[in-house]
């Protein structure tokens, strides 16, 4: 009876080696899925490096971020990079990324700039999540006219291209880093409101919520202790990807002169103030832009990795 022969590769239930290793917890599973993705690890690596640089900038930087080197060293303004390892004469002072238009060491400014990027990303997204999640959560939970009013307001905000709306808000508030952050925060609110509302609508119909309600939980307690924590997953993903957008938009505002003001060593502002020198001193444009791109890339890769790890439904797609 050859037809009943089974191939050798089918494991028997009793063979413990053949059973897949059982994940201890949900988070263990998520962690494993996350670490399996190379791109997510690259993102994590870049972000780790960035945080390291941001914390140890004063130790790593050979000069102060706003230290003008006129009279200190014999160099021209906008001088190109001088790296001893690559054949720059030993008697010349070393400037890994050259010197900017105000004779400051570009490398030191770049290192300090990482602080601004991270702060910009985290503060704007935290602000937008706090406001957006509250609005979206309440809208989804309460429904009715409140839902209508809030979501139509979000529609109107979404009807403007985000960078243009941010520019208009900065025009009202006046240029400056804090105002630029506020503008980007306001512009990003609708995305979070929508995400949270959508998950609240799903979660609030679940049995454990009804059970909680039947036990007499107060509505606000129900929302904040039972519903919102379980609607968090898409918010984490959206938030990580949102940091990338926020950093990009903040750099754009600073580039246009509406965000961080000189002499703040913010990458977008450094790039913007030297953009007319791109043909004579390309290093002053190249490095800040590269740093912005890598930072944004890190958060994008991280966000994608988190999404795939947290949402197994998408696993086969990626």
């Amino acid at each position: 009876m050859t037809t009943l022969n089974q191939p050798d590769s089918i494991p028997t239930v009793l063979d413990p080696e053949a059973l897949p290793e059982r994940p201890a917890t949900l988070w263990g599973l998520v962690r494993r899925r996350f670490f399996r993705r190379k791109s997510a690890l690259v993102g994590l690596g870049i972000l780790g490096l960035l945080i390291f640089v941001a914390i140890f900038a004063p130790v790593l930087a050979p000069y102060g971020p706003e230290q003008v080197l006129i009279g200190v060293e014999d160099i021209r303004k906008r001088q190109g990079p001088c790296i001893h390892l690559f054949g720059c004469p030993q008697d010349q002072p070393q400037h890994l990324m050259g010197v900017d238009g105000n004779v400051r060491d570009q490398f030191s400014r770049m290192l300090y700039g990482s602080r601004f990027s991270l702060i910009i990303g985290f503060t704007t997204v935290t602000f937008a999540i706090l406001v957006g999640a509250t609005l979206g959560g309440l809208a989804g939970f309460l429904g009715g006219w409140f839902d209508d009013v809030v979501m139509r307001m979000m529609d109107v905000l979404l009807a403007f291209p985000s960078l243009l709306l941010a520019i208009a808000i900065v025009a009202v508030l006046g240029p400056g880093l804090i105002n630029a952050l506020l503008a980007i925060g306001i512009v990003s609110i609708p995305a979070y409101a929508r995400v949270v509302r959508a998950s609240v609508l799903v979660v609030k119909e679940m049995d454990y919520v009804s059970a909680s309600r039947a036990l007499g939980a107060a509505p606000l307690r129900l929302l904040f202790n039972r519903i919102l924590p379980n609607a968090l997953t898409p918010l984490i993903v959206q938030g990580t990807l949102g940091i990338a957008t926020a950093i990009l938009d903040a750099a754009a505002l600073s580039f246009l002169g509406l965000g961080a003001q000189p002499p703040t060593p913010e990458w977008g502002s450094m790039l913007g103030s030297e953009r007319n020198q791109v043909f004579t001193a390309p290093h002053l444009v190249f490095f800040p832009g590269l740093a912005i791109m890598l930072t944004v890339l890190a958060f994008n890769l991280l966000g994608d990795g988190l999404r795939d790890a947290l949402d197994p439904r998408l696993a086969h797609v990626s």
Binding site: A159, P161, V172, G174, L256, V285
Partner: protein, 359 residues
């Protein structure tokens, strides 16, 4: 279908009113006195009073809002403070440039992004797939203004003595003259009439105008000037479209009806293009609509980098110079354009997926 279209258009009306309201509020909130902005720092009190009366600024705020909405609905956008010209004329001059730029960037994004995404999906996990996705990830993280400057550096300076040289700024080389097509064909139009402005608007699409007047030098020059800004502006949408196409096609390729089609012995090419791609189109259409908004925002940056006096650039300058009429009307035009694009996306959606228009 008709019912769906009607409902969708009616739904857009409250949003349009919201946009008018937001621009009105923003206009009133911008610090600085409109009188001193219009008449100068040293305007006398009487002059300011007259200015306020003429512009309805002495009326209650709700009346001002009504006047404002009425003017906009009649197409009267007011007069620019900085240029002392009607805003509608400035729009006629500047809008074609921005539309030309956005459309070419969008075409680039679609022409490269969609095939790249389909190929990556079909050759899942191959080297092609990895390279495409690494490229797409870098693309979505690209600061448009930086890429623009780097492209200008590369093509205008590094490659300056090669056939690949491209101009780093402007719309046409100085000295080149583009005759408007209505003059070329010697149409009799009365300057200042509505018809004249409409033709002028069309003639300001330099590529369109030079094609229908057979002006090859201008056509070549205009395209050369457009390549770099369009490349810079297209990067982010191209990357987004490629990613979305890939994941959408991948998802569809796993469906049972694809296996059926293959089992029937249909050629792989037909399976991918006809069975898979058409069904993967819905999310792609959505993402194209969404990325158009980013395109308009990116136009401000691209126009700044390449010294193009388009809508985005003028709007940005107006904001820094507190030119309220321009700020308000340009924002409205852009936002309305955005709403209309989304409307078209929704209609395309309904056309592609019968289930939507039936619900």
């Amino acid at each position: 279908m008709l019912q769906y279209i009607t409902r969708r258009i009616l739904l857009a009306i409250p949003v349009l009113f919201g946009i008018l309201l937001v621009t009105f509020i923003l206009g009133r909130l911008i610090p600085g006195d409109p009188c001193s902005a219009a008449l100068g720092e040293h305007a006398t009190a009487e002059a300011c009073e007259r200015f306020a009366r003429e512009n309805g600024l002495d009326q209650p705020i709700l009346v001002q809002l009504a006047i404002y909405m009425g003017n906009i609905l009649r197409g009267d956008f007011g007069e620019s403070i900085r240029f002392s010209r009607p805003v509608s004329l400035i729009l006629i001059e500047r809008l074609p440039l921005t539309i030309e730029l956005s459309l070419s960037a969008l075409s680039l994004a679609l022409l490269i992004g969609i095939p790249a995404g389909v190929i990556a999906a079909v050759r899942h996990n191959s080297a092609t797939d990895v390279v495409t996705m690494v490229g797409a990830n870098i693309g979505v993280s690209m600061p448009v203004f930086w890429l623009g400057l780097m492209l200008a550096y590369l093509f205008a300076l590094v490659l300056r003595d090669t056939p690949f040289w491209l101009p780093p700024s402007g719309r046409l080389t100085a000295g080149l003259n583009a005759t408007p097509f209505y003059e070329f064909y010697e149409w009799q139009v009365e300057p200042g009439s509505g018809w004249f402005y409409f033709l002028e608007f069309l003639a300001n699409f330099y590529i369109f105008n030079s094609i229908i007047t057979f002006n090859l030098p201008v056509l070549k020059d205009a395209i050369q000037h457009l390549i770099l800004p369009a490349m810079a502006l297209s990067t982010i949408p191209m990357a987004i479209i490629a990613r979305m196409t890939r994941s959408s096609v991948l998802e569809v390729l796993g469906m049972d009806y694809i296996r059926t089609a293959r089992a029937k012995g249909i050629r792989e090419r037909i399976v991918v293009m006809k069975h898979a791609f058409r069904n993967a189109l819905l999310p792609i259409v959505t993402i194209v609509g969404l990325s158009l908004g980013g395109l308009l925002g990116g136009a401000v940056l691209t126009e700044t980098v390449f010294s193009l006096a388009g809508v985005g650039r003028i709007l940005f300058e107006a904001i820094t110079a507190r030119d309220y009429p321009i700020i308000q009307s340009f924002t409205i035009v852009i936002a309305i354009g955005y709403v209309l694009i989304n409307l078209m996306v929704d209609l395309a959606y309904a056309y592609l997926d019968p289930r939507i228009r039936l619900t």
